[in-house]
Symmetry: C2
Subunit: 371 residues, 2 copies
């Protein structure tokens, strides 16, 4: 990597990410204190993921709130590419999406892009992807979305519902555009080139379901933004509102640098990992610490690059606890072993409860499907 | 047009076509007398469209016959892009396809690429295309295909059935390939780029329906060949037989040059035209004749570029009658008015009967649909 030192596309997040630069590069807006205050006024509380800046950037969130205040409810739309098992990093935006669904009392469309993950993988068969799809659905349901207000859309299963919309989109997007936005090349397969409209289609599905222009808010990690940029450019030509977004950062993997990734299993704690594996993964993770205890006591450690710190901050610590942890880490008062131990103690009961919900989800799948 | 003087792609046929050059360019084979004899042996007769060279070129037709002789029946697969009304030029390959279905006693899949025609047109809405789709289905059924052995596949309606196959294909075709084969450019919309696998998918559907590798024979005008070239390249990687083809020439439009086209209405006799319109269109058509009767008597006329001659030859004349017509035309014994009059007299009762069948087809649509 040269001058920019990080790359973010929908398929790869690498390097040490400068989120301010990323917002500038993508042309998104920072969530301002004024916007936070408007959300707090409606929801009655400020979600920690907003307060801590895990959700940090947006497009048109203000417009969606203005419509909401006028009584025009939005739909939430988010998704998952079922390329592997679900890890804790995946859960954060879903937990936040559930909070939005509850507080705003709105519908959610959750898309599973099984077609995409088949097209973009070298080795996976459609059967492999279908297995992950079925497994991932259990994790989604386990989050606790409202079955009356949530539909899970599986591309290959529900293609008939989204294909006509995707054709309207595809007709209005040239190869030049996707080449520039997604970095497609001559060697790219034509399935990948033809795919973006399939991911864009659910942005317009709410307007079709409701029979009137219906705003859509997409909570998702910022690496998915290129899709919505293309979608926003053509939305109004098709008579639909531009989809709004609220962007999260990435949860660092246990190996740090870039996002937690199912494709490097040892960097991720999966929702199905047992206590032994959780202990082992956390014990052996990279941290922001010094090579020796002596040096750490003397120089302090670097929490800002430490996955243990961020896991604790986003999932388990209160803001106050986390700020205190940061201060102690920096000053050398805190050793990595203690943080790792805290993370183990918090993660095991959290995932134990999650696994129970995931088991219960097996009987609920039908409720979440489109007919 | 420069050195080659004609262009043939799935979307445009222009110029005076040299079919030998086209076979060479596309890499297809001429239907040999030996192959014709094999067909005649199985079917008991030699269809005039073969004998007259209207179907003139193929890929792997010999292999399909060999499998057939071993008891492994093929499926026929053909299609129609529903971009307008049906004219007589469209009917020729369909009539030939019906003959193949009857004589070989085989199943037929008839694809309507409504998605393609929407993506490739500047002005048409999906509603426009859907209307043509419904209208075109009546013409297809009116041909007399066996409802027990024929399924009409409408892309947007039956997308769920073909989407998984199209993904398998799309994953194995790069942008380089479609750029070279179809002439796609940076300004091409990504729907068009992503479309070829949708047209390729029905090549493999018979193997899926039958649960064993099932040969497929595609009767279609040679301008559709690029699709099958791409499909053939990947068929065996996917474990399916390479689709075989039998290629027709184009029926010249009443304005001549290139194929009869719905997009230039005055060059085509539509199946719904009434007698008055048929008379008018034939009266005013371009022919191979001389500017004056005197010159024609003296110099003779050019039947080879005359649509009236070819309409009569392919639809109505016996071979003997047609050869005699050609001789008289060339020698100046025959004037264009007489040929036009013959064509009018033959076309009106033919289309009158066709229109009756087309009316009856309205009650048969369901029988031809995939569930």
């Amino acid at each position: 990597m040269s001058s920019e030192e990080f790359t973010v596309t929908p398929w790869s997040v690498e390097g040490d990410i400068d989120y301010d630069k990323l917002m500038q590069k993508f042309g998104t807006e920072k969530i301002s204190p004024e916007l936070e205050a408007r959300i707090e006024k409606i929801t009655g509380e400020m979600h920690p993921m907003l307060k801590l800046g895990y959700f940090f950037s947006h497009r048109d969130l203000d417009k969606v709130l203005t419509e909401y205040e006028k009584g025009n409810k939005f739909y939430l739309y988010t998704g998952r590419g079922p390329s592997g098992k679900i890890h804790m990093g995946h859960l954060l935006p879903w937990i936040f999406t559930k909070y939005l669904q509850e507080k705003f009392d709105v519908n959610l469309i959750f898309q599973l892009t099984d077609d995409e993950k088949f097209l973009y993988s070298d080795g996976k068969s459609m059967d492999d992807v279908s297995k992950f799809t079925q497994e991932n659905i259990l994790d989604i349901i386990a989050i606790g979305f409202d079955p009356k207000k949530t539909k899970i859309l599986i591309d290959t299963k529900d293609i008939k519902r989204i294909y006509p919309i995707s054709l309207e989109i595809a007709k209005r997007v040239t190869y030049s555009t996707v080449k520039a936005v997604f970095g497609f090349e001559n060697s790219t397969n034509i399935g990948m080139i033809g795919f973006p409209p399939i991911q864009a289609a659910p942005c317009f599905l709410p307007s079709i379901i409701e029979g009137r222009p219906t705003p859509v808010l997409i909570p998702a990690a910022i690496d998915q933004d290129p899709y919505w940029r293309v979608t926003r450019d053509i939305a109004e030509k098709l008579g639909y509102p531009k989809p709004a977004q609220i962007h999260s950062k990435f949860l660092p993997g246990l190996g740090m640098q870039g996002k937690m990734s199912s494709s490097i299993p040892e960097t991720a704690i999966f929702t199905t990992d047992d206590d032994g594996i959780i202990d082992k993964k956390i014990s052996s993770t990279f941290t922001g610490g010094q090579p020796t205890v002596e040096l750490q006591r003397k120089l302090g450690a670097n929490y800002s690059i430490c996955p243990v710190f961020w896991y604790l901050r986003y999932f388990f610590d209160t803001e106050k606890e986390s700020d205190e942890r940061a201060r102690k880490c920096k000053s050398g008062q805190l050793l990595c072993g203690e943080c790792k131990s805290n993370l183990k103690d918090a993660t095991k009961p959290f995932l134990s409860e999650f696994k129970k919900q995931r088991e219960k989800a097996k009987d609920q799948v039908d409720k979440f499907m489109f007919d």
